[in-house]
Symmetry: C3
Subunit: 182 residues, 3 copies
């Protein structure tokens, strides 16, 4: 196969029938650089980041919206979906209000529905753990949220904020942010 | 750079090495119109719509499946995921059965798990609100559903229906429908 | 329009202004075969499979992670999102720990929050069903999980496992696995 051929400032691609971009690339022939094209903007992109937290208490609710917004900005994704999930099974990611009274209400409500004490009331705690209640609380508050991305922003109602709900803290734990879109 | 060159009815693209479609476009050169091509059909599409509701009572469950189906039809998306979420933090979107007895059971069950009265039992209500219980009920019923889109349809089991769960109504509130796919 | 024209081993595409790949294809002209190109790898793909279960008891928790991993492998998708949802409204899909003591705790905890007996306590059961409690339990444990796909794998924390939660078994029921990505 011949190399690209210039003729009075014009380049012709010496392209055989049904050659694919792969081959063009492999052969070192000129090809469209998709990364900077309009086409590239239409192709699916993905982004991944882990957020790390070490909560000094057993339980806490942290507003992680700023970190998630930062991830979205880094991704450059304009339209798509963002998944934010706890990577641990005694923690939650959920969306609600950033109001300290409400957070105190959640704390006492969850303790009523799935009390930490007595630790011996749970069979899971016979394994040497004392966090069975945290596995229950996490199911009520949920593992993950999926949020729409529109025009490069979290597509939120007026009061929506993303929280990390820690129910068995005092150690390093992670939240995963995965964004797919274009 | 030269302008496109016709020779006996044929056009050659005077394309420099690694020119990208963007540049072709900017320079007014001929390019593939992606919107009407097979390629375009493979590219990710997205769709967004807000559904508005004003429930006259404090609490109600509304079957919003027909509106979501209509959104999917408008989107033209054949394969992908559809996110339906409450944009407010005292409301839910969930999937269950459209049976009035079950809805009455949900009402009394949620009141048992997170009673509206006494309003003063919740610290959140010291802010002047009386809807702390609605923030609890919403966590049990969930903020959102993600549904598969297959062959242009909601990929549902036999009894699945999408509901808007209002727990603090008597005002206008929104549900977001976001669809991504191809 | 003329057919493709070879000149000393080189092919020129006789492409009119704004011709689209569709037309090239229709007219039998050479075009890039997207299926085997780098470009194709960037385009969105989707995968769907139903998993069937028949649990011999009324309630049970099944670890379905191996089946979901197998679906992901079959899909060939490297980056994206995987949705796993119960297609029935008296069952859950959720992520937590594969520890038998914890599963026993979930069983007794869910029975406390939404007891099966007395069956007559639920209006839904006046329809001839006896499974109203299963509709409640499913809301606490959730209908679905969305999991990130990264480098062709479920992007999981150290203990995350996917479970099918059956709350009204003794008949064939389904879980849907839908994957979108690239």
């Amino acid at each position: 196969m011949r190399s690209p051929n210039w003729d009075s400032g014009r380049l012709w691609f010496p392209v055989p029938n049904r050659v694919c971009p792969d081959e063009l690339h492999t052969r070192g022939l000129p090809h469209f650089d998709l990364r900077h094209s309009n086409l590239a903007r239409l192709l699916m992109k993905s982004y991944r980041k882990e957020l790390w937290f070490q909560v000094p208490t057993r339980r806490a609710l942290l507003n992680i919206t700023p970190q998630v917004v930062q991830c979205l900005r880094e991704s450059g994704i304009q339209e798509g979906l963002i998944l934010v999930n706890a990577m641990h099974i005694t923690a939650s990611v959920f969306i609600n209000d950033d109001e300290s009274g409400l957070h105190a209400d959640y704390e006492s409500w969850l303790e009523k529905l799935a009390p930490h004490e007595p630790v011996s009331a749970y069979r899971h705690n016979e394994t040497g753990e004392d966090n069975a209640d945290a596995h229950m609380k996490r199911q009520i508050m949920g593992r993950e949220v999926v949020v729409a991305v529109t025009a490069g922003k979290l597509d939120f109602g007026p009061w929506e904020q993303i929280f990390y709900g820690e129910f068995d803290g005092r150690r390093k734990k992670r939240v995963l942010v995965k964004i797919i879109g274009e």
